[in-house]
Subunit: 445 residues, 2 copies
């Protein structure tokens, strides 16, 4: 694209009156920023407009004077309060006309989904296109995106639902947007850490931060605490190969400093790391959950292909369920209480044996808000992991040696019910990860 100024500065505009209420926030801009940064395009401002043609037009006019690229998300639906197309067309002085190809696709989509009756006529609004705009197909929804060249600048309209916006933008970043950028991306890596708090991670890494600032390719670092897990984001802006090398070195320093609390340096979530370890080692897992109510299993089955290592799991809230489904002795429940290390271990053993798996997990605790006591307050969670595998990991259902290892830990989590569940599910997955790592690296059998 000789002669065309590369895109360097972008503004993101989110459209939707709900984003101006106390309960909804624009999160698309995080993904959009990440994607644009891949091409070295900086986001220099963000704005949110309600479903108001005049207000939105004002915002577009304002940002258009200050950036090379305007990315709008939302307001492309079929209803009257979807105003993005009209606002953009009016600011750029472009007439809107119905694109019959889009209408045809909309009707076909309506029929394919088995909705009753003909497509409401109102949906044809989604086929309106400003003159000269390029239509970007939406594989997952009805609203197509639009790419508009305006002098040296680009105005991009994307649908609001993240699952529609994300693949469309990803494709543009690999194609049309890449062709218009100068190719010095901001490269980022994410290091994920389990079982430490933010300020401890920060303290441990402080000397590295100072070193990174003075490097030929400086590295910026941000720590985020998210859902009971810590994420360290490191980034560098340079040609990709050099930025990548600098970041690889930085990530290696972090791992050397923090050790095995680091569970992922390549973007994988904890459930995926655990799933991958199970597949690698040819193992199966059985899960018995009380206070987490199925969350550990649900997270593990979010991973495609999880049926390779998970056959079954149980949620055992009641004591008789623990006894009937897992063989936890009644006497144990009476003597120690349901939230206790002996019971968690019996749950882990019980599900492992009954699921004919090599790894068993038992989670029992008090998620709250009620049910706590002075000795076992709300947030007390006991997690056990039981394995019957020996070094070398024999295949499933092969001759088994009992006497594999068993680990149990008692945690005290803080926060509301859902937050306790989430932290407990992190801890359970992380205990499985550690158990498997230990085995994989030589093993104690």
């Amino acid at each position: 694209m000789a002669g065309v100024k590369p895109l360097e500065r972008a503004a993101i505009v989110a459209v939707g009156s709900e984003l101006l209420t106390p309960s909804k926030i624009d999160t698309n801009s995080l993904f959009i920023t990440e994607q644009l940064n891949l091409l070295g395009i900086d986001v220099t401002s963000k704005a949110v407009s309600g479903d108001d043609r005049t207000e939105l037009a004002h915002i577009i006019r304002h940002v258009l004077g200050r950036v090379d690229l305007v990315v709008l998300s939302g307001g492309l639906g079929p209803t009257d309060d979807d105003v993005t197309r009209e606002a953009v067309a009016s600011v750029l002085g472009l007439p809107l006309a119905e694109d019959p190809d889009i209408t045809t696709r909309l009707r076909a989509r309506f029929v394919a989904r088995g909705y009753p009756g003909p497509m409401p006529e109102i949906n044809r609004r989604q086929a309106m296109v400003p003159a000269g705009a390029r239509v970007i197909e939406n594989a997952r929804g009805s609203a197509p995106g639009l790419w508009i060249d305006h002098e040296d600048r680009v105005v991009l309209l994307l649908p609001g639902p993240p699952r529609e916006l994300r693949p469309m933008l990803t494709e543009l970043v690999e194609g049309s947007l890449r062709a218009r950028s100068e190719g010095k991306p901001v490269v980022r890596r994410v290091v994920r850490v389990a079982g430490l708090i933010e300020s401890h991670v920060d303290e441990a890494l402080a000397p590295l931060y100072r070193e990174w600032e003075r490097q030929p390719i400086p590295i910026a670092a941000t720590i985020l605490a998210a859902f009971g897990s810590i994420e360290l984001h490191v980034s560098a802006k340079a040609v990709p190969a050099r930025a990548g090398e600098a970041l690889d070195a930085a990530v290696a320093q972090v791992v050397a400093t923090l050790g095995d609390v680091v569970y992922s340096t390549d973007g994988r979530l904890l459930e995926k790391v655990v799933g991958d370890l199970l597949v690698e080692r040819g193992l199966h897992i059985g899960i018995a959950e009380s206070c987490t109510g199925g969350l550990v299993t649900s997270r593990l089955t979010d991973v495609p292909g999880s049926s390779r290592y998970l056959d079954r799991a149980v949620v055992v809230y009641a004591n008789d369920a623990k006894t009937e489904l897992l063989g936890v002795p009644e006497a144990l429940l009476i003597e120690h209480g349901a939230v206790s290390e002996p019971v968690a271990l019996a749950m882990a053993d019980g599900i492992r044996i009954r699921a004919r798996a090599e790894v068993g997990v038992g989670v029992t605790g008090i998620a709250g808000p009620s049910g706590g006591s002075p000795e076992k307050p709300v947030g007390t969670v006991v997690i056990a992991v039981s394995t019957d595998v020996v070094s070398g990991f024999p295949g499933r259902r092969s001759a088994k040696r009992e006497g594999g290892s068993r680990t149990v830990r008692t945690f005290r989590f803080h926060g509301e019910r859902e937050h306790v569940k989430l932290q407990a599910s992190n801890a359970a997955l992380d205990m499985v990860r550690r158990q498997l790592m230990e085995k994989g690296s030589g093993g104690r059998g």
Copy 2:
């Protein structure tokens, strides 16, 4: 404040370069919106600026022309990249001067906190005040807030850390801001709908929208599609009692129009509605999940007190798990396949009987990305609900009459694995809700 125009429209501007990265988002605006709405002040736009004097000045100049109140958060720290004071002063043409009282307080605070040595001179930047501004004390941090009257308008500068911003704004809402507002808060209600798509809801409600606009207390409505569920947000601006009445009437019209697809008009999520119905009717539920992998159970156990109606649930990925844990006949699995209506029904019956519950749920399907076939593509999910209760709902474990009702439906969901799981969990919870509602309203037994 006779003669002064009340504050009606506000813009929120968050300042901070970190808010323009892929990992941080401005959340202060949610709290600010909630507080302003209490006074009937609408937020008509939001913006985020980096720590860039020129860019921020542009944004302030732009929004100042369109609202009565500009609330800025952040950029009041002591360092060079804290630019909010300078940007505001330059836009409003006000000279900046050091306020010696602030400097004194800053020095005292420094000593009180036991920091070593004298206060760095750079911290005196926080004592710079635009001429005519009123200083708002910050009980929890060093940066004071600033209130600036500009013609009929108000520009408010608040510190970025939420724990500093919140008490300052709360106090202003009770004092100076209340005195400048007309005192008609924005009241909101949320109506939640299952099993319909956005455009159908919109089409059905279009006549109501038109009626609401012309009412003495007009009602604004926004439709949101979120997680396979539809939310209708309605709001009115009036003295609270009158707004509440108008909204109650509007919500009743929506329910009359849409019927029993409306599952909540009081903010409750679907899992809470189902949990409440189970408690009301004194029933217990057993859940058997295949493709949803525990998500239905996890959502239901997000509700505090769910142990009152849930004793146990099972995740049965493998066929032998379905047979062993639920008694699904092997012959049925072979003849119809695991994803079939007879199997879903057998799962629902099996868990209901084995959990000694009155309601059983079976979910089986293909979450993807692999495992689909031409007849049963990815996204095919079969859900069954089985009950053995009769009208009047006898207590649990009382003499049971077999021959309760059984419902089974086959769905075709679209999207990725996690999205299919989520939609399937919505559909399962909604089928339970409908079954219980039917029973509750007279019942067929």
